[in-house]
């Protein structure tokens, strides 16, 4: 029996590996200093796998997290994390209207989009995201900003989680995209 379970898990994992996977890629990112606050503009290409699309179209809400870190680069010590933020979005469908709803969980704002592409484009567009106050940034230090979009597996319904974890085990972990903080 144990052998059967192991074989089943391995098979599922292999299938998960072979199947299309969620790929979130930061295509553009820059920071701007506006009125003493560093703002982030970024473009992220959210490619949801067929599994995720199917779940979304069948009423399962998906939560997307975008981790944003500002780190100070140090020569002789490891880098120091100055601030860490997380932008959280939830996307779901609205069967009655046929719309895709994109909710910013940080602000509580929700917008409806007529189709998936529209919603995806809106999700991948980050504009004027306030990152860090200029006062917290030392002038003589070097800073880097990094960004990592990912799907929140823990927000999925529990039956979907084991497979999602297995899938995430097989694919490469969500990578950070890094660039220097522009002054």
């Amino acid at each position: 029996l144990a052998l059967a379970v192991i074989v089943a898990i391995a098979t599922a994992a292999v299938q998960a590996r072979a199947a299309d996977v969620d790929r979130f890629q930061v295509t553009h990112a820059r920071t701007r200093l506006v009125d003493g606050v560093y703002l982030l503009d970024a473009r992220i290409d959210f490619h949801f796998s067929e599994e995720s699309r199917a779940a979304l179209d069948n009423g399962v809400p998906l939560t997307v997290l975008i981790d944003i870190d500002v780190i100070r680069v140090r020569d002789h010590l490891w880098d120091k994390e100055v601030t860490r933020m997380q932008a959280r979005y939830r996307i779901r469908t609205h069967p009655l209207s046929g719309r895709y709803l994109l909710a910013n969980l940080n602000s509580g704002q929700q917008r409806a989009y007529r189709d998936y592409a529209e919603m995806r484009a809106a999700l991948g567009r980050i504009s004027d995201f306030p990152m860090i106050d200029q006062a917290l940034v030392k002038s003589d230090a070097r800073y880097r900003v990094r960004l990592r979009p990912r799907l929140d597996i823990e927000a999925l319904p529990s039956p979907l989680r084991p497979l999602a974890y297995l899938r995430s085990l097989w694919r490469s972990p969500n990578k950070w995209s890094e660039w220097p903080l522009e002054r």
Binding site: V60, L96, S97, Q110, Y113, R114, S158, P159
Partner: protein, 751 residues
């Protein structure tokens, strides 16, 4: 470290109970999480990981136990096979029903989940959604017309009056928000039911694109938490054509009741669709949870089986170890108490048994020590005995033999233990008379109860390495019997010397008396005969005188002869007063030979002397000269030939570790008579017409005085040979007695 932890987990029931409780708690949480409990749903992944870790830990424990058990089986450790058997039974007993339950549970589970879904319900929900859409669609078309009317009104309105007109139109139409957007997306005028709303909801690019394509847009938008809104966007012609067309967006609220109903329908539909989508993952999830529960239960059962089997087998293993220790002779083994159950009773019995065995062994050791001491005492006594002692078992196998037996029989008996007497005889044929004697008495008297009937006594003569030996044997049956037959103890003494001494003493006495009784009257006879001659011979006539002379002369001559004979007897009977000095026998022989060559010129006397011959350490040269003289004289007298021949040979030899000088004197005469050859060394035994018959008797006497031995034999080519063997170390030989070996073809005659 890991091994210690494993051992700790394997020890005692405490860890098992704790682990089982933890696993049960974890499984309960997983079960609740699977059933959709929000609280535990958050912990679902963590719980899964915890349970998987517990699973792996248990699997590791079982594997460790299994490896340990297999190692024990391979090493044939006590109780290992019993543990295997018990574990197998426990596992079979626990696995079989659990697997059956698992199978049916899965069936029920899958059917139960499938039963949640019904085509009719799904259709009803779809219809409800369609109905809602239709109801809302009607209203939406009305609102589109209404907005288009507003748009046409606004198209002709002056730019400065737009704001009032928009506000007026909003109020009239019942819209929540009415916004006029310019060709570049700029807001020309807006009115909201909430005056606090400064930023209006503007149509996005996609709506504007559709507007450009089809001239209007209508849609149902869920706006924030405010519920459903109908968004209508229509083109508004430009007041000045060159400015481009504008867009009017109106947001109409859906009535509260409709909103609620639509929301319910939407929520129910969405939930049902989500559930339908999650049907297979849910089955997988439940199956996974159930499998986890099953696996954990199974592995816990298997582990418990190992634990229980070990606990049950431990006292038995100790018992087996104890038994092995007892088998190996360790009676001090005591097992720890194992409670008051049957095994405990067994352990107590074992401990009592080993105690008794220990005491019995001590008793046995004491008895053995006593026996050893008695045996040592007996061995000492036996080794000091001058009599030979042999003990034989009922099969006539040699059991013990003392040193004297070896010496007397001339056989190394220490290595012959366990051999039958018959086998011993095959190796040493001279023991045959003893074997015959013993075997003839073996079966006799085994049933007898009287000591006289069990004992026997007989004289036996053997011809061993030491020559002819007369043994006085006595035997008795041993008390212990085997299969009705008893062993024997045989005691024997070498009485050869004693008998010889007695015989010699008798002869000496005869000779002494003979000399005394005969010699005394001889002198008066001789004197009388001489006086007769002196007084009466001249008185007789010539004829008588001649006769008288011849008669008296005969008397005198015979008396002389008798005297010399009596003197010879006297010499024989006389106790020797030996000198002890080193003697070169070869030199003595040369003297004698020269003497006889001078006096017996017709004879051929040869001497082959061994140049390596050692000197006799302590001998009487006069006596040895007499011995040689007697032998040569005897040899010459035995030959009635014109040219008698005498051969004297000496050689050095070693026998039974001692050095000897062997002297052989042989002739070419007729040899000894067959009947006489055994007695030639006795007095008065002679084949010659003249002589006293004491020559060879004296030879033997002189040889014995030098601890030597003599032998007589006939040569194959004719003639007789007398052999004298003298030990080089005379004193040593005298202490040890006559140990002189005769040649194979030598008939040794003793007394």
């Amino acid at each position: 470290m890991a091994a210690r932890t494993l051992r700790y987990l394997n020890r005692g029931g405490g860890p098992i109970v704790v682990v089982v409780l933890l696993v049960l708690a974890s499984l309960t949480l997983v079960s609740k999480a699977t059933h959709g409990s929000t609280r535990f749903s958050e912990l679902y992944s963590l719980l899964l990981v915890v349970n998987l870790l517990a699973l792996l830990t248990l699997a590791g424990l079982i594997l460790w136990n299994l490896v340990r058990l297999l190692r024990q089986v391979r090493r044939r450790r006590a109780g290992a096979l019993l543990t295997v058997r018990m574990v197998t039974i426990f596992v079979l007993l626990s696995v079989t029903p659990v697997l059956v339950i698992y199978y049916f549970s899965l069936e029920f589970l899958h059917r139960g989940i499938d039963s949640w879904f019904d085509v009719r319900v799904e259709r009803a929900l779809n219809d409800s959604l369609e109905l809602s859409r239709a109801a809302l669609g009607l209203r939406m078309r009305e609102l589109l017309k209404q907005t288009e009317v507003i748009g046409s009104d606004l198209s002709i309105a002056a730019h400065d009056k737009l704001a009032n007109m928009v506000e007026d139109a909003r109020r009239r139409s019942g819209a929540t928000e009415l916004t006029l957007v310019g060709p570049k997306g700029n807001i020309l005028a807006t009115a909201n039911v909430d005056p606090a709303t400064i930023v209006p909801d503007r149509p996005n690019d996609a709506i504007l694109l559709q507007l450009r394509r089809s001239g209007s847009y209508i849609g149902l938008d869920p706006v924030g938490d405010a519920g459903l809104y109908v968004r209508v966007v229509v083109k508004v012609a430009a007041d000045i054509p060159s400015r481009g067309s504008r867009a009017l967006q109106a947001l109409y609220p859906v009535t509260k009741r409709i909103n609620e109903l639509a929301d319910n329908v939407q929520a129910a539909f969405a939930k049902y669709r989500e559930l339908a989508y999650l049907r297979e993952p849910l089955k997988t999830s439940f199956t996974l949870t159930l499998s986890l529960v099953l696996l954990l239960s199974l592995l816990t059962s298997v582990w418990a089986a190992f634990f229980s089997a070990r606990r049950l087998v431990a006292p038995l293993r100790n018992l087996a170890k104890g038994t092995r220790a007892v088998a190996a002779g360790d009676f001090d083994t005591r097992l720890r108490g194992s409670g008051s159950d049957d095994v405990g009773f067994l352990v107590d019995s074992f401990n009592r048994m080993t105690g008794e065995l220990g005491r019995a062994r001590e008793e046995m050791h004491r008895s053995q020590a006593q026996l050893e001491s008695q045996r040592a005492y007996l061995d000492t006594v036996l080794s000091r005995l001058s009599s030979g002692v042999l003990t034989l078992d009922p099969a006539a196998r040699l059991v013990t033999a003392n040193d004297a037996a070896e010496t007397i029989l001339g056989v190394p008996l220490a290595t012959a233990q366990g051999m039958t007497l018959a086998a011993l005889c095959d190796a040493h044929p001279h023991l045959a008379p003893i074997n015959a004697q013993v075997m003839s008495n073996f079966g006799r008297g085994s049933d007898a109860t009287e000591p006289d009937q069990r004992d026997w006594r007989a004289q036996t003569v053997i011809s061993g390495p030491r020559g002819r030996q007369v043994l006085m044997c006595s035997g008795t049956l041993l008390p212990d019997t085997q299969h009705g037959r008893a062993g024997q103890v045989v005691v024997f003494d070498d009485v050869t010397t004693l008998i010889d001494a007695q015989r010699n003493a008798a002869w000496s006495e005869v000779a002494r008396r003979l000399a005394h009784e005969i010699k005394n009257p001889l002198t008066p006879i001789q004197l009388s005969a001489e006086r007769l001659r002196y007084k009466y011979m001249r008185r007789l006539d010539a004829g008588d005188e001649q006769t008288f002379d011849r008669l008296t002369r005969t008397i005198v001559q015979q008396v002389e002869a008798m005297k010399s004979m009596v003197n010879a007897f006297s010499d024989y009977a006389r106790s020797p007063h030996m000198r002890h000095e080193p003697v070169d026998l070869n030199a003595l022989i040369v003297d004698i030979v020269e003497l006889y060559r001078a006096s017996h010129t017709e004879a051929r006397i040869s001497a082959t002397l061994d140049p390596e011959l050692k000197r006799l350490s302590a001998a009487d040269p006069d006596r040895l000269r007499q011995l040689l003289h007697n032998l040569v004289k005897n040899a010459l007298e035995a030959q009635d030939l014109k040219v008698p021949e005498v051969r004297i040979i000496t050689r050095a030899l070693t026998d039974t570790g001692r050095r000897f000088i062997e002297l052989s004197v042989s002739d070419c005469g007729p040899g000894f008579d067959r009947e006489m050859i055994e007695r030639v060394f006795e007095p008065y035994v002679t084949s010659k017409r003249k002589g006293t018959g004491l020559g060879l008797a004296i030879v033997r006497k002189i040889a014995e005085e030098h601890s030597g031995a003599v032998g007589a034999r006939n040569l194959p080519e004719g003639g007789a040979c007398i052999t004298v063997r003298l030990p080089c170390d005379v004193a040593g030989a005298r202490d040890e007695g006559d140990v002189i070996a005769a040649g194979d073809d030598t008939r040794e005659v003793a007394g």
